[in-house]
């Protein structure tokens, strides 16, 4: 069981990498989305550039740029931190668009109802629109979280000691059948992804009708 235990021991790193990148993205995605929606060009243009750029360039290229490229400028991150930073910013870019879509799906009468009650623009967003937009965005967020979980395997390429990295090492040194070892690693990703999708589907059904579309 040696190689399999070793791969299993990489699971916390994979989970931590996913969770941290998702958390960064979920939080940073909000101001990024607000800037993207701003009527001020000076906010909107850079937000749009960040969103487009981080989605247009493959994640592995970003990881290389952050880990190898930035090292040249004297900023040498650990592989894990570089992966969190890279996947975190990419997540922010994607989730900003997911949030924006959620917000656009809400009937504009909700803004008007908030304003008519004398709520400020921000309070209307905070208490009326955001809770509903979040419900709309939830399935897309879950889809993204699953994609992100799988993308953390790219961190193997900059030496993060996660599931794929360990599986690949075990396969290379011939500690067992390569097919079995790699299939085991694949199974671990599936084991995390599938329940996430199920939970998201449940939540979506539960929240679906509390939204004005």
């Amino acid at each position: 069981m040696g190689p399999y235990w070793n791969i299993l021991a990489g699971l916390p790193t994979t989970v931590a990498l996913s969770a941290l990148a998702l958390a960064i993205g979920a939080v940073a995605g909000v101001p990024l989305m607000l800037a993207r929606r701003s009527s001020l060009f000076l906010l909107r243009a850079p937000a749009r550039a960040v969103i487009d750029l981080f989605r247009a360039i493959p994640p592995i290229v970003w990881l290389f740029i952050i880990f190898f490229g930035l090292a040249e400028t004297g900023l040498q991150l650990t592989p894990f931190n570089a992966a969190v930073a890279g996947l975190g910013v990419i997540s922010a870019a994607y989730l900003a668009e997911v949030y924006r879509g959620g917000l656009m799906a809400i009937d504009k009468g909700q803004w008007e109802a908030g304003h008519a009650l004398g709520l400020s623009q921000f309070h209307t967003f905070q208490y009326v629109l955001a809770p509903q937009a979040f419900r709309v965005a939830l399935p897309s967020m879950a889809t993204f979280a699953i994609a992100l979980l799988k993308d953390t395997s790219l961190a193997y390429s900059i030496g993060v000691n996660e599931v794929l990295f360990r599986a690949n090492s075990e396969a290379q040194i011939g500690s067992g059948s390569s097919l079995a070892i790699l299939a085991f690693a694949g199974g671990l990703y599936a084991l995390l992804s599938i329940p996430t999708a199920l939970v998201a589907r449940r939540l979506d059904t539960a929240l679906r009708d509390k939204v004005a579309r």
Binding site: Q110, E112, A116, L117, G118, L119, V128, D209, V211
Partner: protein
Amino acid sequence: MIPGRPRFGHERSRRAGVGSDSAETSPSARAQPIVRLTDITKQYGGHVVVDAVGLQVDQGNVLAIIGPSGAGKSTLLRCVNLLERPDSGRIEVDDHVVNAGEPTSGRRLAALRRSAGMVFQSFNLFPHLTVLENVSFAQRRVLERSGQEADERSRELLASVGLSDKADAYPQRCSGGQQQRAAIARALALEPAVMLFDEPTSALDPELGLEVLAVMRQLANDGMTMIVVTHEMSFAGSVADEVAVMADGKFIEQGDPKRVFENPSHPRTRQFLRAILER
């Protein structure tokens, strides 16, 4: 239609402490104007939707605005609480004044809107909140009442619109008529000086519409100042103190409802009323 219902209209006493408020000092407070619009113009891309319209509604009066679709009725109403910013003109609601074109802070805008309760054609209740929370929400966030205080007041208001048993339901579990009555309670919760109704029954079948009209009638009887954009002629005829007929962005006729309905002076009014009667 809802027996034993508590009455609205309490707390109509004008907020004390507002120095410039003549209602406290003047014995003729009944005739005090609550809403005054002067020369309101609104255009969209060169198309003039509201064309230099003025109106005044005194305290306790009900103005019904009728007229064909596209006449600018809703746009005009939405100018009263500045959901639409007019291109020119002056808006006075209660003791708030906004001149079009001059920069208006969010705070002044919010203060004016607080004085004008708005009821929308499509209800626009908050679907993620229960009926009770919908009514309590702005009391807590805008009037900064405690949760308990707000909920108590909300239950009174819900009782007054016949919705006590729906307090804990979510809006989508309510009929359209119930939703609209809840929306009226929500708007009343801020103790507005005037209530604005934008075709409140147009999205409802006739029966549910009657529930809502009964509540509005009660509200008018209790002395609420109201501006009602509507196609409900019998409501306008029996409840309104004044009817204004709007066409092509202007008031073409204005006056006592009986006079306007029975003896319209403008040919466009006659044409519009005939179209309604022939339905």
